[in-house]
Symmetry: C2
Subunit: 152 residues, 2 copies
Amino acid sequence: MAEVVFREARRDDVPSIVTLLADDGLGATRETVREDVDADYWCAFDAIDGDPRNALIVVDRDGEMVGTMQLTFIPSLSRRGAERMQIEAVRVRGDLRGAGIGRQMMEWAVGQARQRGCRLVQLTTDKQRAEAHRFYARLGFVASHEGMKLTL
Amino acid sequence: MAEVVFREARRDDVPSIVTLLADDGLGATRETVREDVDADYWCAFDAIDGDPRNALIVVDRDGEMVGTMQLTFIPSLSRRGAERMQIEAVRVRGDLRGAGIGRQMMEWAVGQARQRGCRLVQLTTDKQRAEAHRFYARLGFVASHEGMKLTL
């Protein structure tokens, strides 16, 4: 398997990341990809990029973007003052799913959490994605919580 | 009903907040309250207090702390570059549960999210807290996601 490389996203990655986010049964209904990506996407990138507790990660293989995810580090008084890592917006390129890239991404993310001293890694996954739950369970995640959302 | 007042936590609120977090069937197994609150709690407070995307909220009534919650604002490329509010570590003082304080806290938090232009409010709640799911569902939250946790 070709090696995957993890790096922080650059500003010029934004259109490709948005394309990846939309390349998904659920995401396609939520993202619009235009040649000139909307101003809101650029603002969001700048906010993430300038925040030491947020990292937008890009996964490259053979010079092509094959995956993305966002890591957020949340300081907390819960669990004896532990910082937690939250993983959001995980996507692997549609034609490459099932090839182990997602697993490598999660193992890398959990490694980052350990290095930083986080005591918890958390994520939510849509209940419609049954295969995703099995994937995360195999990695040791426990579906102990209800993930509740209120759209404004 | 006496009026509740919302404010950001001060450093000298930390021992009371940790006591509130522990005042709970699940939290009691996770938090230790000592006269000199552990260094990790103070570090966590300073991290939250110094972060413009985190707010530790205290709810007072008649000059007494009756509730707490943490708000985290997460910038994201998902959902067209929307910022989301995440609510964690929600607690109402044990002897005051069921008196409407939790509802006022959530309504206040959602109001803050709207003012800030967030397009999503999210939280996870332990599957053992069935009454909490019903509470959030009555407020409009949809249990659309699995909340998965990996303890390190």
